[in-house]
């Protein structure tokens, strides 16, 4: 079955709004449960890692260019280059390498 993109957008928008606004408006105390706190603490790093690899090598025409962009981008991020510079490093790596690959 083909589904409606506007329904998808509505489902997404409502889910994300609930997540962001409910704790801010309803719950105003610190989370007590140790496991939930630690779980929530690790979630961003895990989700972003899972979504980055292997997706980055599938996103580019040449998987090798994507892999090298991952390495150089990680190095720049490790050196605290910041969001904008890391992004530029990744894009330029692919742009230059794909001329040769």
């Amino acid at each position: 079955m083909t589904r409606n993109i506007y329904v998808y957008i509505a489902v997404m928008a409502l889910s994300v709004f609930a997540i962001r606004v409910l704790p801010l408006t309803l719950v105003r105390q610190p989370i007590k449960n140790r496991f939930i706190r630690d779980f929530l603490y690790y979630v961003p790093y895990v989700t972003l890692s899972v979504m980055t690899f292997p997706a980055i090598i599938d996103a580019t025409d040449s998987p090798i260019a994507g892999a090298i962009a991952l390495l150089l981008g990680s190095y720049a991020a490790y050196k605290e280059a910041g969001l904008f510079k890391v992004t530029v490093v990744c894009c330029l790596t692919v742009l230059i390498l794909e001329v040769f690959l």
């Binding site: 957008i9 997404m12 994300v16 997540i19 690790y42 980055t52 996103a59 969001l83 692919v94």
Partner: protein, 231 residues
């Protein structure tokens, strides 16, 4: 209104970064079959890079609506933590509308702006930054959808990694100071690779399963010591 204009100035570099990443997100949205208006609408309503990326992939895979709700919750669950932290930074006497607006526009960057103020954040400082940066995000997505088809293929291929650059800038720096995070990132890379290559699970399903499994593993095996609530 001094704080609004100060916020607006801070919003300019944030907006430029958003624009580049949103453009790359637009290319993914175009692959999922979204029109420029639908991309604009999504970014105006959602304001989340990882979340929108996961959602566009889910649309491309034509998942059931319930799975869309699930992937939206899982890929954005870090905002629960930020929302808890931010709730302590809003003056208890402030009007409720500020909690709704600051929640609606809760991104990593706006969170960082609000959380560094003492003792409470000034909502209008955040609104200033949002006034410039939020339109950059929405317009960047729409333009990515339009231009993704017009620009030379080589440029599109290069721009498609911008989103991952933004992710790297968020999850790589803590690897230096936290061994558990370094281990979890390595484990995430490895298991994500294995599942994508050796099973027929969709990308959005892999994201849900691994986020829940590996974060639970982390919470059980590497319990954190007490730390300040906003880190």
């Amino acid at each position: 209104m001094k704080s609004f204009s100060e916020g607006f100035k801070i919003g300019i570099p944030i907006g430029l970064g958003y624009f580049a990443v949103a453009f790359s997100l637009g290319i993914i949205a175009a692959n999922a079959g979204l029109t420029p208006f639908q991309g604009f609408l999504t970014s105006a309503l959602v304001n989340a890079s990882a979340g929108e990326n996961a959602a566009f992939i889910a649309i491309r895979e034509n998942v059931p609506y319930l799975q869309m709700a699930l992937i939206s919750v899982v890929s954005n669950i870090r905002y629960v933590l930020m929302s808890f932290a931010l709730s302590q930074k809003i003056d208890p006497r402030a009007k409720m509308i500020h909690r709704f607006l600051l929640g609606f526009y809760l991104t990593d960057e706006y969170f960082a702006l609000a959380i560094q103020q003492e003792p409470y954040c000034d909502p209008f400082y955040s609104y200033g930054a949002i006034t410039f940066a939020a339109p950059c995000w929405a317009l960047g997505t729409a333009l990515g959808i339009v231009m993704g088809n017009i620009l030379p293929h080589r440029i599109v291929s290069a721009l498609s990694v911008a989103l991952f650059g933004m992710f790297l800038a968020i999850f790589i720096p803590p690897v230096k100071t936290s061994k558990p995070i370094a281990i979890l990132v390595a484990l995430s890379f490895l298991s994500s690779f294995l599942l994508s290559r050796f099973t027929s699970l969709s990308e959005s399903t892999i994201t849900i399963i691994l986020t829940v499994a590996i974060s639970s593993f982390g919470a059980l095996v590497f319990p954190t010591r007490e730390r300040s609530r906003d880190d």
